[in-house]
Symmetry: D2
Subunit: 361 residues, 4 copies
């Protein structure tokens, strides 16, 4: 069998970085090769520079890798670079890496709205990866490119909206309230004082992202082939909350279709159940058997019980019922640090490999 | 000073009953006189029959009251009866008590939709108590009558909707997602396995109540004076969730006014801040200084920090902002076992006293 | 390869029963063949009679098994029976099953103190399984026998005490305080009102078990070969607490050796790290690589991060340090529903198979 | 009535500072006059510089006080200064304040082991305040002095040990395991990731304090009148844990008396129940009616239900029973930010006033 793709991970000591490392243990195509972190951590073996918070041990092959500074020279033999960098530094570093002709899959928000950068949820809009050659040409790159994945809450929503638009046509209105897990805030992240006997009805900038990102993800490419174009037929209104859950965002959603035709709950159930995406057809290693798991139990999905469906890469939808105001309402659940973060980047890379967009150094 | 009104409490050993007893300690007009519970508990002193779960001790004057069975004869010297009964038994018992000419303020759901029974949130529709004489006449009662208060989630919503309709006219659409505390489910109530590292997106019948009760509360009396009439201009769509919070329901709400005129967030803030209700004007003992407390902090209201505003009888509203789909969205918080349950009954009784509807035996 | 042993599970719809079913999925030697539950559940396919609360789906091969009543006739073709029965019914049912010549591994407390029944923690006293032939002879059984495993808190303690007595001789005094997870109480089990912003310093009968069971586990067989004999040199004093943790009991332990020789913390670390048990030597499928995982981090073990060490069958020990009063103190962590319950039964059965004590029907 | 004592609060924006301010609202003898914080906060009105996290609003009289830097000149008209400073700065600042002849009651750890500084738990060793004149003389001060209160966990323990030594003579051995609330760590303090579905068996330096401070608190003054002297007859061994509780430390304690006489549980109950301290006799405003509340319920004390006993200044003790190794074991509960912090300082000041040790400027 051919050699694995060498992976560099930026922000390797953070929560997203740790998740990347865990998910890549025993991956058949990808192997962790280089780790990058701030200069405070670099120069030391990984196990000494990280405060490891995953529930499985640090993989043996990673434990003793010496942490590098996040400069392109240190990663030039990497075939693919995953970025779990904080947005305060991701902008400059990812730019430098891309310009150094490295292939970067980023979890940071900085370039999500760049019209020449694909914003890809692997089980919603994998076809946006087909823009990679366009980006290379525009930016005059050979092997390098930049792909981003979406905000964690948006990820779950986008998958379901895409399945529904596929089946029933344009959706005009989406009102969503989230109950978000704490792991997305990193470590130490949220204060325990805010989340014992409490919820917090606010997360900075989160509502803006939820209202904006789906429009790009579900949108298309401009006819000039030079940029992505936002959907114009959909408006999203979001209210976010932080709740005392470790992993798994729960989202209560009401939607209205543009057509005026109102599918029945059973039709919605069938459409979601039958939804199938390119990443399954391509046989990607991390692709969930079903991109959407439909639960018929009256009190599901629940984060602790359902977040690991599809090894964390499926979205679970339940409580599908008529909305007295819009057409339908339901509750969805997405694992915010797997499909909602590192898992999307990895699955995006797997799709890019399958489609031939990723070349070895 | 004149003697206090003698209070009977039905369901005295349950969570709502315990809350009634706590709230009535040191009340200037009301004194706990009789306690009723199931035959399993009756015949014993209260402190022996209750599994007390309040954070203050059992009041001295109540500790040794002998628990009675819930039959009218045992309560005939009570001037007012508060019912914290479970709905499985409330129907028959409350009927018997009312027919025995006792004045009953009930927290149970059984008669909330009875067209001749006021469904009253004291800081939303206290004027519905003016129907008491009509009810007495229709039912041929002398001193007795039956008043109910609303579902805990509805209570907070109704207060805010009323303030907004007062200021800006009819509201046509309300989409609401709740994050509800566990105390409303009683003891033992919710399983800890459901609420550690988890939320549950379901509470039986709760969404139906939230979609229906506001229409009666915000509605009026039919011109024949014989029954209440639901609002016809408003539709409510609810999605409920149980979260790991002891007390305090958080509700994310988006609303649309019927008029097409869209008030600004600042106008909403001003209207809520200036909202004043009859119970303050009547000088009721438990009336909160402000029925609605507006918070301008970006991350409030929070249940642990804000539920005791107005001693648990105020509703706190924050995050008031434009809704990209409807007119405005905001988050409200209501103490589910004070204003949302026992506190409403008590404040309703205080208003009834002030208005002369409650007569001593 | 030879056929798998057919497994019957009693109490299959309960929390321990669900854990048995999850752990046996894909087991190389054992296959779930019959499921037993109360008559309320029996007669229906398993997926209809259970309220499944594991974080993985019901295994396909089990989903449609029809649940039986817990009577020996229904299980007579089972080679091994695991009991996750409640103690209120386990006494009679397990007696009937054993007398019907079935091999029973029980998680219930009923027969733990029976002098002719082995009480076995697989990584502490597997040699007690060698009493099985004695029990068969005494009770005049052919294939049938009864083996119990220990209380969940005791399990973790016994493993560590055994390792320390092996290395440093008899321990005379053990003072232990537990912080116990909620899953051991079943579903619905603990009330959420008791475990949000709270701990409960009491679990019925638990302290008695912790003070008594280790003495049998670490004890031996009487010279007459007819019964087990408790240790006489050790006294245990326990204080138990329930804490808001889903899985994983944390135990703070101080111990004093009988000899008066005080090993250093480093000697303790080395002894625990090198501790090896029969189940590893026998190559049992579920045997953890290390029975005891020693953590040198100052703030470990932690239940959420360490409970799955050794796939839930290892005990993690940390904070090993001198005790100013006794000789040494440390904190241990055991997964209460894997090694502390179903995992022990399964590993005991694997050892019994390896040693030839389990015969096929 | 005479004028109130003017109070300065150092560290006023922190968690302890906020608690001081809340507890002093409506105090009959003390009025908040000056607030001090780091230079980052100073110069602004209090409500602008604080992230208020109490469950009651900022008192009206404090809201607009301009925050000062923590320099003695700014507080020279204060009759008493309470310090809620972080230990990283408390050493220098409290020294400067004392030398400037100000009366300081400190919650910081810096001077607790200074042999000339009283370490006082108001309901355990109020007589140590009688050392104030000695300290003044030694340090050549006129009105100024420095008194510290104890670590939060120690506070609860010391009260109970004092009551038991009073009744039954010297205690030789104490083994204690704590389950500590998060509020003591300040805001943001503990990470929510550490305390959802988790406990942490470690708090830096805490075990050392618990093993050392009681020896000074329960000790006496050297015969030369120049210094405090630690107890020599007692050894304490502590194991600490952080648990998901907002307020209230739970402590499981086993003790052995030096005499060899073992009191019965009932004698222990009676002794604790009858324990009375100087602060009650002096009629101090914040003195709890009982310094120790004994609970006979099998599952109490519990932090959420019992922490506010005695308005947070009582220690609740339950589960009093024989210890199979030592003489007796029990569980105690102390409100860590009231009696365990700000409440102790305030009650110490009230005692000092009653005894004439505090002079107005």
């Amino acid at each position: 069998m051919s050699e694995k793709y060498k992976v560099g991970i930026l922000g390797a000591t953070g929560t997203v970085g740790q998740r990347f490392i865990s998910l890549l243990e025993d991956h058949p195509q990808l192997v962790v090769h280089k780790l990058g972190a701030s200069s405070r951590s670099s120069g030391k073996p990984y196990y000494q520079s990280v405060r490891w918070k995953m529930t499985v041990p640090i993989p043996e092959g990673v434990k003793n890798l010496v942490v590098e500074e996040c400069v392109p020279e240190a990663f030039k033999d990497c075939d693919v670079v995953f970025s779990g960098l904080d947005s305060s530094v991701a902008g400059q570093i990812e730019k430098a890496f891309t310009e150094a002709d490295l292939a970067v899959f980023s979890n940071a928000k900085n370039y999500r709205q760049d019209p020449q950068v694909p914003l890809v949820v692997p089980t919603a809009n994998p076809e946006h990866l087909d823009f990679i050659p366009n980006q290379k040409q525009i930016r005059n790159l050979n092997k390098g490119f930049l792909v981003t994945n979406a905000n964690c809450s948006v990820t779950g929503l986008a998958v379901v909206l895409r399945a529904l638009e596929n089946a029933f046509g344009p959706i005009s209105q989406v009102i969503i309230t989230t109950l978000q897990a704490i792991s997305g805030a990193g470590y130490p992240g949220c204060s325990a004082l805010d989340l014992i006997d409490n919820v917090v009805p606010f997360i900075g900038d989160e509502e803006d992202k939820i209202e904006l990102e789906p429009l790009k993800i579900l949108g298309g490419v401009h006819s000039d082939g030079q940029q992505f174009q936002h959907l114009s037929h959909m408006t999203v209104s979001a209210s976010v909350n932080r709740v005392p859950v470790v992993d798994g965002h729960t989202e209560a959603v009401s939607i209205k279709f543009a057509s005026g035709n109102k599918p029945t709950p059973q039709q919605i159930i069938d459409a979601l159940d039958q939804y199938r995406t390119e990443c399954q057809d391509l046989g990607c290693f991390s692709a969930p058997e079903k991109a959407i798991v439909v639960s018929l139990d009256e009190d599901r999905p629940q984060p602790r019980l359902d977040r690991m469906n599809g090894k964390g890469n499926a979205v679970t939808v339940g409580r599908i019922r008529e909305c007295p105001i819009f057409d339908v309402k339901f509750t969805l659940l997405v694992h915010n640090t797997i499909l909602g973060a590192a898992g999307s980047s990895i699955l995006n890379a797997e799709i890019a490999i399958a489609k031939g967009y990723l070349q070895k150094q």
